[in-house]
């Protein structure tokens, strides 16, 4: 079975186990495909056969990448949240929680908060108590926000980190509301914070 858009949704934009399995097979095939064995040299000696093989290799090599993308997928706003340490989903207390964005069509503002898995109190990162939030200018390229969250500011445990990018500054109430026209992207990521 091949990974698809359902996988992307379930994995919240990261690589799922299914997608990683397909990548492994592709890497193995790519690595082994570069061996210049005698049969391959003979095939390349014939121009017609070479064209056919080139086409087959091209189609074969591209297949995994193409099916991993949703149809009609162009550049779009994407948000990512990860621990900056050894593991992406498990933060040591010394790690920072990083926010990544790409495909931003207009100047935008980041909002983020953490919800503890044990139904504890919500922890707000942005906007801060003073009402400030990291800003990002329009741009297609991926960027990491300069402002990160120190994992030590959270007590040990599992959290759902909710991040949201909007074209205007939103109040905390607006962020928690179901939707707003200014919202460009949202992302929920599960992170564990160590003691």
């Amino acid at each position: 079975m091949r990974p698809d858009s359902l996988d992307r949704l379930l994995a919240r934009g990261r690589l799922s186990g299914r997608e990683r399995e397909a990548i492994f097979e592709g890497a193995l095939r790519d690595a082994r495909g570069r061996r210049w064995t005698l049969p391959r040299l003979l095939i390349w000696a014939s121009p017609a056969a070479a064209c056919a093989v080139a086409l087959a290799l091209f189609l074969g090599a591209r297949a995994p990448a193409d099916h991993l993308r949703a149809k009609g997928e162009g550049p779009r706003v994407r948000l990512g949240v990860e621990c900056g340490g050894e593991s992406s989903s498990r933060c040591a207390s010394t790690d920072k929680i990083l926010f990544r964005v790409e495909g931003v069509p207009t100047k935008a503002y980041l909002s983020a908060y953490a919800e503890p898995g044990d139904a504890g109190e919500r922890v707000w990162f942005f906007p801060t108590a003073e009402g400030t939030a990291p800003e990002v200018e329009a741009g297609e390229a991926p960027r990491i926000f300069d402002r990160a969250v120190a994992a030590r500011s959270l007590r040990a445990g599992a959290y759902q980190i909710h991040a949201l990018l909007a074209s205007r500054r939103l109040s905390r109430e607006e962020i928690l509301a179901a939707s707003d026209e200014s919202i460009l992207a949202r992302q929920t990521t599960r992170l564990e914070v160590g003691p």
């Binding site: 919240r12 990548i23 193995l28 790519d30 779009r76 992406s88 991926p142 300069d146 179901a178 460009l184």
Partner: protein, 197 residues
């Protein structure tokens, strides 16, 4: 996990290119490689290089491991050293190559990488609804499907690792995964949302 350099059998298998060894190496390091490709890395002298666009991540992770798995790379690896820094260097090179090829300027602070013209870059209309519906679906999963989701979609583990962690067979994992995916499909359909397959 014990250091790579102390695992004689794994090192031998890696250098001779057995599928089992390459698979073990892959699953031990894929999370870190994904992070380097996606989130970039700090460069000693020129600041942080941001990662690549999300749509490129699968291709580039594949390229990193394809380079690692090549015979010349495997033979060039010094088994008295750890594999992780060697692999991280390959991953960084793949990202740098990509950035150069796509003329993305490598600059000191992430906030300055805005020289690439913004196209008419409007997110697909129902992206946000799809994400919200998915979150609603995930919040109501029964415990077996929630555990499966955690293993396969949060931690990104292989079927085999997930089966081991959950005390199930691989067939059980496949069955639960099909159920999880079908459930999401139905939830989206009920919400009158569709997703390209």
């Amino acid at each position: 996990m014990s250091p790579f350099r102390t695992q004689r059998e794994l090192i031998d298998g890696f250098r001779s290119g057995t599928r089992e060894a390459l698979e073990a190496v892959y699953w031990s390091h894929v999370d870190r490689v994904e992070r380097i490709v996606c989130f970039g890395f700090q460069q000693r002298e020129s600041g942080r290089l941001p990662g690549v666009p999300a749509a490129e991540v699968p291709d580039l992770v594949q390229e990193v491991f394809a380079r690692l798995f090549r015979e010349s790379t495997r033979q060039a690896f010094d088994p008295s050293h750890e594999l992780a820094p060697y692999l991280a260097a390959i991953a960084r090179n793949v990202v740098i190559d990509w950035a150069r090829k796509h003329r993305h300027e490598i600059v000191e602070t992430a906030g300055d990488v805005d020289d690439v013209a913004a196209a008419a870059d409007v997110p697909e209309a129902n992206d946000d609804e799809l994400i919200r519906e998915t979150e609603r679906y995930l919040a109501t999963l029964p415990s077996d499907l929630a555990a499966l989701h955690e293993q396969r979609y949060v931690l990104g583990r292989s079927q085999e690792e997930a089966a081991r962690a959950l005390g199930l067979t691989r067939q059980n994992v496949r069955t639960l995964e099909t159920k999880l995916r079908r459930g999401l499909e139905q939830a989206l359909r009920r919400a009158r949302l569709s997703v390209e397959r």
